[in-house]
């Protein structure tokens, strides 16, 4: 019995958010902020949540994705609007795939915390390669709005950086959720659960753990690349290396996954909502103090729900009718 019903909850949540964003003035960007956070949590969850491995180099994948789109729009825009965008998505995915194949190939042989800390160098490594070797503009990055305006006109540029970028982020976020739901119901998902719980036993149960870890890692990374391409390059219209390789996004994504519940479909949704909204409203109510307040709140949540909010609820809901909609 495969279960896709939690997906209904997820899609419903997106619908409500979009409705709120569209109907209440001033809520659209906050909703986009929340969706961005949910998406980065969701994509990380595919790997971290299901395998228990922490990818500290996560933001590097968003970064190379952002560069993929940036390079297409900045250097190949004479192809025409649609082909350039398609090229951008393809480049974002390929770059992310490439990086994840290399990093995964090397680092996935390591267990648990060793893997986590080994990947922390990835982000710095790629950032300084781009800056040090002056690739794609080096530290000056790629600034796109002028180029887009010249190539495609002011109207198209505005459309690209607002409506299209927002739609792109939403589509990628939902796709990430759907992929998660699919994985949870597939052989891959079961293999990942097994190896997360006990890698040795999983091997003896016939699971090629290295292969499945690598697959999950690459899926997670490609999704992250697409988020970078939409939420950063398209929406912000620039790519600066110091900006897109900022380690705090990795940590924020981990926080979101953990808050919501690792390995659950709805975890990143709940985690993203809690985290982004708390931060947004704290920044408004107590400018400059929000992180000071947020940190102890996080600790309290961790102490109360070490398995995350959704993990906790799913456990309580087991055996009730709610069960099918929480996962």
């Amino acid at each position: 019995m495969k279960s896709y019903s939690p997906l209904i909850t997820l899609l419903l949540a997106y619908l409500i958010m979009i409705a709120i964003g569209q109907s209440i003035p001033g809520m659209w960007q906050p909703v986009m902020l929340v969706i961005f956070y949910i998406a980065i949590g969701q994509a990380l969850n595919v790997f971290l949540g299901m395998t228990g491995y922490v990818n500290f180099g996560y933001v590097a994948l968003l970064g190379v994705g952002a560069y993929g789109m940036g390079v297409a729009l900045g250097y190949y825009n004479e192809l025409g609007l649609i082909p350039t965008l398609i090229l951008g998505f393809i480049l974002a995915a390929i770059l992310a795939l490439l990086v994840s194949a290399i990093v995964g190939g090397i680092a996935l042989r390591l267990r648990g915390a060793y893997f986590a800390i080994a990947t922390i160098g990835v982000n710095e490594g790629i950032k300084y390669l781009i800056m040090g070797a002056k690739i794609w503009g080096g530290s000056e990055g790629i600034v796109l709005s002028g180029i887009l305006r010249k190539s495609f006109g002011a109207e198209t540029m505005r459309f690209l950086s607002t409506t299209f970028a927002d739609a792109g982020v939403i589509v990628v976020a939902i796709a990430t959720g759907v992929v998660t739901a699919y994985i949870l119901n597939s052989r891959l998902g079961y293999a990942l659960i097994a190896l997360r719980e006990d890698e040795e036993a999983a091997k003896v149960m016939g699971i090629n753990v290295t292969k499945y870890k690598q697959i999950a890692f690459m899926i997670s990374c490609v999704l992250a690349g697409l988020i970078g391409a939409t939420a950063w390059t398209l929406k912000l219209t620039y790519v600066f290396p110091q900006d897109v390789f900022a380690i705090n996004y990795t940590v924020e994504a981990i926080v979101i996954v953990m808050l919501g519940g690792a390995g659950t479909l709805l975890g990143p949704l709940v985690g993203g909502l809690i985290y982004a909204l708390l931060k947004y409203y704290l920044a408004i109510a107590f400018p400059g103090l929000q992180l000071l307040i947020l940190a102890p709140l996080l600790i309290v949540v961790i102490l109360l729900f070490p398995e995350g909010v959704v993990g906790y609820i799913a456990k309580k809901a087991r055996g009730t009718r709610l069960e099918n909609f929480v996962r």
Binding site: G146, S161, Y281, I284, L303
Partner: protein
Amino acid sequence: MKKLLVFVLVGMVLFFAGCAQQQPQQATTPAGPKEETLYFGAPISLSGKFAEEGKASLYGMQVAAKWINEHGGVKVGDTTYKIEIKYYDDESKKENVQSLIERLATVDKVKFILAPYSSGLTLAAAPIAEKYQVLLNSHGGASDYIFEQGYYYVVQTLSPASKYQTGFLDMVKKLDPNAKRVALVYEDGEFSRAVHQAAKEYAEELGFEIVYEKTYPAGATDLSPILNELKATNPDVIIGGGHFADGQLLAKQLAELNINVKAISILVAPTFPEFYEALGNKAEGICGPAQWEVGARYTPDVADELGVEWYGPTQDEFLAMYKELAGEDAVPPYQAAEAAAAVLSYAKAIEKAQSLDPAKVREAMNGLKFMCLYGLWQIDPETGKQVGHEMDIIQWQNGEKKIVWPEAAATADPCYPMPTWDEKASGATCGS
């Protein structure tokens, strides 16, 4: 126990959410003939990497708003508007900037926004400002390219990056035509790169010889590899730097490695008093570009001479009001003055346009030219880039920051060549 904790947690969340809702919803509905409040919005970096600059710029804005309110507010028709600054903390992060700009534009109905600090964040704010057609006045985004992207609603109050180090080069050329050898050492970031690329071109135009050019990554804790190399090239002057920490480090290690040159100009760091506190008299003679400096000779009289209108507090008024907000010992850095100037420019432009419509105010800005404590304010109508304002070069002399360039604004003669590190180690200062 657990239940109690959950309860407390939920309670806190609700409390915070409640606080957030209590924000004043209405802002400007110009109907009555009398007094209204006009909000200028600002995403400000109160935490994160730009926290220091952010705080100073907030005080600057508040001082300017207070002065305007005490001096009759902003008059449009027969309505008088009191200015208030509506600000949120953007944590120096681009996503937050976008959300906050939208909140300001829609929830708070703010039409005039003071851009966030740094070029990157200003660039992130631009598409959203353009979408809601609200004005975005940059007081901390110096990079020229922001204004080469074709945004109509984005204007600049501070001098662009390309002007930062040019004054220093002019000064050296004037003081010592024989000083030809220039070394550049700067942080590898978009802002300092823009500054120094422009400086390099300008130096070559002036006939300087670039004998060394290297960058160091942000966050470097040891510059000795670069400086050992630089020492061998035997330069006459060094220009470089990037932000606070690396600027301090650059000066410190130049001293440690005993690299003596005739003049040094470092970006950003020397303009803060902490620079001297950290380095002691090793800071003597070190120059740095500043958008503004205490003692800058912009006064109503100077404005009169130039035939432009004066607006805003005089420097003394500004310093006094700044102290009220920031504390007794506080001396405003240039980030405060440029933010204040941005507020003043809005007020001035609104009065000139006699309208609160951003498009009309932007129109009015094109022909606007006035002087305030920060200097001249005038933009290029096409790009919105600042063209009126001039950078100062400051130099640490005898424990004080002095303006040494341009000559018209100078509060002291340049100390040139600066004392050697050994001289300083035995107590020498500029002017002793």
